[in-house]
Protein backbone atom coordinates (compact mmCIF):
# COMPACT_ATOMS: atom_id res chain seq x y z
CA UNK A 1 0.00 0.00 0.00
CA UNK A 2 2.61 2.51 1.06
CA UNK A 3 4.82 1.83 -1.92
CA UNK A 4 1.85 2.26 -4.22
CA UNK A 5 1.08 5.61 -2.60
CA UNK A 6 4.71 6.67 -2.91
CA UNK A 7 4.72 5.83 -6.57
CA UNK A 8 1.55 7.82 -7.18
CA UNK A 9 2.89 10.79 -5.22
CA UNK A 10 6.05 10.77 -7.33
CA UNK A 11 3.96 10.84 -10.46
CA UNK A 12 2.04 13.80 -9.12
CA UNK A 13 5.29 15.55 -8.28
CA UNK A 14 6.41 14.99 -11.85
CA UNK A 15 3.35 16.91 -12.93
CA UNK A 16 1.03 14.02 -13.74
CA UNK A 17 -2.45 15.23 -12.85
CA UNK A 18 -4.20 11.97 -13.55
CA UNK A 19 -2.14 10.36 -10.83
CA UNK A 20 -3.61 12.89 -8.42
CA UNK A 21 -7.09 11.55 -9.16
CA UNK A 22 -5.85 8.15 -8.02
CA UNK A 23 -4.51 9.63 -4.85
CA UNK A 24 -7.87 11.29 -4.22
CA UNK A 25 -9.73 8.06 -4.73
CA UNK A 26 -7.64 6.50 -1.98
CA UNK A 27 -8.20 9.20 0.61
CA UNK A 28 -11.33 11.16 -0.26
CA UNK A 29 -13.71 9.19 1.95
CA UNK A 30 -11.57 9.54 5.05
CA UNK A 31 -10.87 13.20 4.43
CA UNK A 32 -14.55 13.90 3.85
CA UNK A 33 -15.51 11.93 6.92
CA UNK A 34 -13.11 13.82 9.20
CA UNK A 35 -14.37 17.13 7.81
CA UNK A 36 -17.97 16.03 8.24
CA UNK A 37 -17.45 15.03 11.85
CA UNK A 38 -15.59 18.25 12.61
CA UNK A 39 -18.18 20.51 10.99
CA UNK A 40 -21.40 18.53 11.39
CA UNK A 41 -22.53 19.57 7.95
CA UNK A 42 -22.03 17.71 4.71
CA UNK A 43 -22.01 20.78 2.49
CA UNK A 44 -19.22 22.42 4.44
CA UNK A 45 -17.43 19.11 4.75
CA UNK A 46 -17.37 18.84 0.96
CA UNK A 47 -15.97 22.33 0.66
CA UNK A 48 -13.25 21.64 3.18
CA UNK A 49 -12.36 18.24 1.73
CA UNK A 50 -12.08 19.69 -1.77
CA UNK A 51 -10.01 22.59 -0.54
CA UNK A 52 -7.74 20.19 1.33
CA UNK A 53 -7.04 18.22 -1.85
CA UNK A 54 -6.47 21.37 -3.87
CA UNK A 55 -3.93 22.52 -1.31
CA UNK A 56 -2.32 19.13 -1.26
CA UNK A 57 -1.93 19.31 -5.01
CA UNK A 58 -0.49 22.80 -4.99
CA UNK A 59 1.88 22.00 -2.17
CA UNK A 60 2.77 18.46 -3.15
CA UNK A 61 6.45 19.39 -3.34
CA UNK A 62 6.49 20.21 0.34
CA UNK A 63 5.14 16.77 1.23
CA UNK A 64 7.85 14.75 2.95
CA UNK A 65 7.74 11.23 1.55
CA UNK A 66 9.21 9.70 4.67
CA UNK A 67 5.88 10.40 6.36
CA UNK A 68 2.51 8.89 5.68
CA UNK A 69 0.49 10.69 3.06
CA UNK A 70 -2.66 10.19 5.15
CA UNK A 71 -1.12 12.09 8.06
CA UNK A 72 -0.30 14.99 5.77
CA UNK A 73 -3.70 15.23 4.08
CA UNK A 74 -5.55 14.75 7.40
CA UNK A 75 -3.53 17.59 8.81
CA UNK A 76 -4.43 19.92 5.97
CA UNK A 77 -8.10 18.98 6.29
CA UNK A 78 -8.21 19.31 10.07
CA UNK A 79 -6.57 22.73 9.94
CA UNK A 80 -9.03 23.92 7.31
CA UNK A 81 -11.97 22.61 9.34
CA UNK A 82 -10.73 24.35 12.48
CA UNK A 83 -10.21 27.60 10.55
CA UNK A 84 -13.74 27.38 9.32
CA UNK A 85 -15.13 26.75 12.79
CA UNK A 86 -13.23 29.80 14.03
CA UNK A 87 -14.68 32.00 11.34
CA UNK A 88 -18.24 31.18 12.18
CA UNK A 89 -17.70 31.72 15.89
CA UNK A 90 -20.95 33.40 16.98
CA UNK A 91 -23.25 30.54 16.04
CA UNK A 92 -20.83 27.97 17.24
CA UNK A 93 -20.50 27.47 20.95
CA UNK A 94 -20.34 24.82 23.60
CA UNK A 95 -23.95 25.41 24.50
CA UNK A 96 -25.02 25.63 20.90
CA UNK A 97 -27.64 23.03 20.16
CA UNK A 98 -28.05 23.79 16.48
CA UNK A 99 -24.55 23.06 15.28
CA UNK A 100 -24.76 19.32 15.00
CA UNK A 101 -28.33 18.88 13.95
CA UNK A 102 -27.95 19.37 10.25
CA UNK A 103 -26.83 15.77 10.02
CA UNK A 104 -30.36 14.79 10.93
CA UNK A 105 -31.23 15.69 7.36
CA UNK A 106 -28.34 13.65 6.24
CA UNK A 107 -29.65 10.63 8.08
CA UNK A 108 -33.26 11.11 7.19
CA UNK A 109 -32.28 10.99 3.53
CA UNK A 110 -31.99 7.25 3.92
CA UNK A 111 -35.37 7.16 5.55
CA UNK A 112 -37.33 9.15 3.00
CA UNK A 113 -40.78 7.98 2.15
CA UNK A 114 -40.94 4.73 3.98
CA UNK A 115 -41.84 3.73 7.50
CA UNK A 116 -38.84 2.54 9.39
CA UNK A 117 -38.83 -0.35 11.79
CA UNK A 118 -38.39 0.64 15.40
CA UNK A 119 -34.80 -0.56 15.67
CA UNK A 120 -33.85 1.47 12.61
CA UNK A 121 -35.33 4.55 14.17
CA UNK A 122 -33.38 3.93 17.35
CA UNK A 123 -30.22 3.50 15.29
CA UNK A 124 -30.77 6.76 13.43
CA UNK A 125 -31.49 8.59 16.65
CA UNK A 126 -28.34 7.18 18.17
CA UNK A 127 -26.29 8.26 15.19
CA UNK A 128 -27.75 11.73 15.30
CA UNK A 129 -27.09 11.87 19.00
CA UNK A 130 -23.44 10.92 18.55
CA UNK A 131 -22.82 13.70 16.06
CA UNK A 132 -24.68 16.20 18.20
CA UNK A 133 -22.51 15.32 21.17
CA UNK A 134 -19.32 15.46 19.12
CA UNK A 135 -20.35 18.95 18.02
CA UNK A 136 -20.70 20.01 21.63
CA UNK A 137 -17.02 19.38 22.24
CA UNK A 138 -14.61 22.28 21.84
CA UNK A 139 -12.84 21.81 18.47
CA UNK A 140 -9.51 20.90 20.05
CA UNK A 141 -11.03 17.96 21.89
CA UNK A 142 -13.30 17.16 18.98
CA UNK A 143 -10.44 16.67 16.52
CA UNK A 144 -8.58 14.39 18.94
CA UNK A 145 -11.69 12.27 19.61
CA UNK A 146 -12.52 11.96 15.91
CA UNK A 147 -9.02 10.89 14.95
CA UNK A 148 -8.80 8.44 17.82
CA UNK A 149 -12.22 6.81 17.85
CA UNK A 150 -13.60 7.34 14.37
CA UNK A 151 -10.43 7.09 12.33
CA UNK A 152 -8.70 4.75 14.71
CA UNK A 153 -5.34 6.51 14.56
CA UNK A 154 -2.62 5.83 17.11
CA UNK A 155 -1.70 8.54 19.60
CA UNK A 156 1.54 9.02 17.70
CA UNK A 157 -0.26 9.51 14.41
CA UNK A 158 -2.72 11.92 16.00
CA UNK A 159 0.17 13.90 17.42
CA UNK A 160 1.58 14.19 13.90
CA UNK A 161 -1.74 15.22 12.38
CA UNK A 162 -2.40 17.83 15.04
CA UNK A 163 1.25 18.81 15.39
CA UNK A 164 1.11 18.39 19.15
CA UNK A 165 3.12 16.36 21.65
CA UNK A 166 1.64 12.93 22.43
CA UNK A 167 1.07 14.01 26.04
CA UNK A 168 -1.15 16.89 24.88
CA UNK A 169 -3.07 14.59 22.57
CA UNK A 170 -3.69 12.26 25.50
CA UNK A 171 -4.97 15.09 27.66
CA UNK A 172 -7.34 16.18 24.92
CA UNK A 173 -8.66 12.67 24.44
CA UNK A 174 -9.13 12.27 28.19
CA UNK A 175 -11.01 15.54 28.48
CA UNK A 176 -13.09 14.87 25.40
CA UNK A 177 -13.94 11.41 26.64
CA UNK A 178 -14.85 12.74 30.07
CA UNK A 179 -17.05 15.49 28.60
CA UNK A 180 -18.89 12.94 26.46
CA UNK A 181 -19.33 10.63 29.43
CA UNK A 182 -20.93 13.38 31.48
CA UNK A 183 -23.35 14.22 28.71
CA UNK A 184 -24.20 10.60 28.15
CA UNK A 185 -25.03 10.36 31.82
CA UNK A 186 -27.37 13.31 31.65
CA UNK A 187 -29.19 12.14 28.58
Amino acid sequence: MDTVVKKIVREVKRGNQEAFAELMELYKDKVFHIAFRMLGNSHEAQDVAQEAFLRAYTNIHSYDESRKFSTWIFRIATNLAIDRLRKKKPDFHLEDKVGGTENLDHYSRFASGEELPEDQVVKLEMQAWIQQEIMQLPPKYRSAIILKYLEDLSLKEISEVLNLPVATVKTRIHRGREALRKRLRES
Partner: protein
Protein backbone atom coordinates in the same frame (compact mmCIF):
# COMPACT_ATOMS: atom_id res chain seq x y z
CA UNK B 1 -15.17 11.25 42.94
CA UNK B 2 -13.92 9.97 46.25
CA UNK B 3 -11.14 7.91 44.75
CA UNK B 4 -7.51 8.73 44.51
CA UNK B 5 -5.86 10.27 41.50
CA UNK B 6 -3.97 7.06 41.03
CA UNK B 7 -7.09 5.12 40.29
CA UNK B 8 -8.30 7.76 37.88
CA UNK B 9 -4.96 7.59 36.17
CA UNK B 10 -5.26 3.82 35.90
CA UNK B 11 -8.66 4.17 34.29
CA UNK B 12 -7.19 6.57 31.71
CA UNK B 13 -4.29 4.22 31.05
CA UNK B 14 -6.67 1.34 30.69
CA UNK B 15 -8.74 3.20 28.11
CA UNK B 16 -5.63 4.39 26.29
CA UNK B 17 -4.52 0.75 26.18
CA UNK B 18 -1.35 1.72 27.93
CA UNK B 19 -1.77 -0.27 31.07
CA UNK B 20 0.61 -2.98 32.27
CA UNK B 21 -0.70 -6.34 33.33
CA UNK B 22 0.10 -5.61 36.97
CA UNK B 23 -1.67 -2.26 36.81
CA UNK B 24 -4.67 -3.82 35.13
CA UNK B 25 -4.93 -6.26 37.99
CA UNK B 26 -4.66 -3.47 40.48
CA UNK B 27 -7.49 -1.64 38.75
CA UNK B 28 -9.56 -4.78 38.53
CA UNK B 29 -9.21 -5.38 42.26
CA UNK B 30 -10.03 -1.80 43.01
CA UNK B 31 -13.22 -1.59 40.96
CA UNK B 32 -14.49 -4.69 42.71
CA UNK B 33 -14.60 -2.80 45.97
CA UNK B 34 -15.19 0.76 44.76
CA UNK B 35 -18.59 1.42 43.19
CA UNK B 36 -17.62 4.96 42.16
CA UNK B 37 -14.63 3.88 40.12
CA UNK B 38 -16.56 0.93 38.74
CA UNK B 39 -19.31 3.20 37.51
CA UNK B 40 -16.86 5.72 36.14
CA UNK B 41 -14.99 3.06 34.22
CA UNK B 42 -18.17 1.49 32.87
CA UNK B 43 -19.54 4.82 31.74
CA UNK B 44 -16.32 5.68 29.96
CA UNK B 45 -16.22 2.29 28.27
CA UNK B 46 -19.79 2.76 27.14
CA UNK B 47 -19.02 6.26 25.87
CA UNK B 48 -16.12 4.99 23.80
CA UNK B 49 -18.21 2.14 22.39
CA UNK B 50 -20.97 4.53 21.37
CA UNK B 51 -18.58 6.96 19.69
CA UNK B 52 -16.91 4.08 17.87
CA UNK B 53 -20.27 2.97 16.57
CA UNK B 54 -20.63 6.20 14.57
CA UNK B 55 -21.31 5.52 10.90
CA UNK B 56 -18.71 6.27 8.30
CA UNK B 57 -19.78 8.59 5.55
CA UNK B 58 -18.43 8.39 2.06
CA UNK B 59 -17.43 11.40 0.04
CA UNK B 60 -19.79 12.41 -2.75
CA UNK B 61 -18.99 10.47 -5.89
CA UNK B 62 -18.21 13.48 -8.00
CA UNK B 63 -15.72 14.96 -5.56
CA UNK B 64 -12.62 13.77 -7.38
CA UNK B 65 -13.96 15.11 -10.65
CA UNK B 66 -14.80 18.46 -9.08
CA UNK B 67 -11.31 18.84 -7.67
CA UNK B 68 -9.66 17.67 -10.89
CA UNK B 69 -11.58 20.33 -12.78
CA UNK B 70 -10.18 22.98 -10.50
CA UNK B 71 -6.55 21.98 -10.78
CA UNK B 72 -4.28 24.32 -12.72
CA UNK B 73 -4.07 23.34 -16.39
CA UNK B 74 -1.33 20.91 -17.23
CA UNK B 75 0.68 20.59 -20.39
CA UNK B 76 -0.02 17.57 -22.54
CA UNK B 77 3.53 16.27 -22.49
CA UNK B 78 3.35 15.61 -18.76
CA UNK B 79 0.46 13.15 -18.89
CA UNK B 80 0.79 9.44 -18.11
CA UNK B 81 2.82 7.92 -20.85
CA UNK B 82 3.04 4.26 -20.11
Amino acid sequence: MACSRDHKRLIEQYLDEEITLAEARQLEDHVKVCPDCRQHLNELKKTVAIVQSASHFEAPEDMTEKVMNRLPKQTKSKKWNN
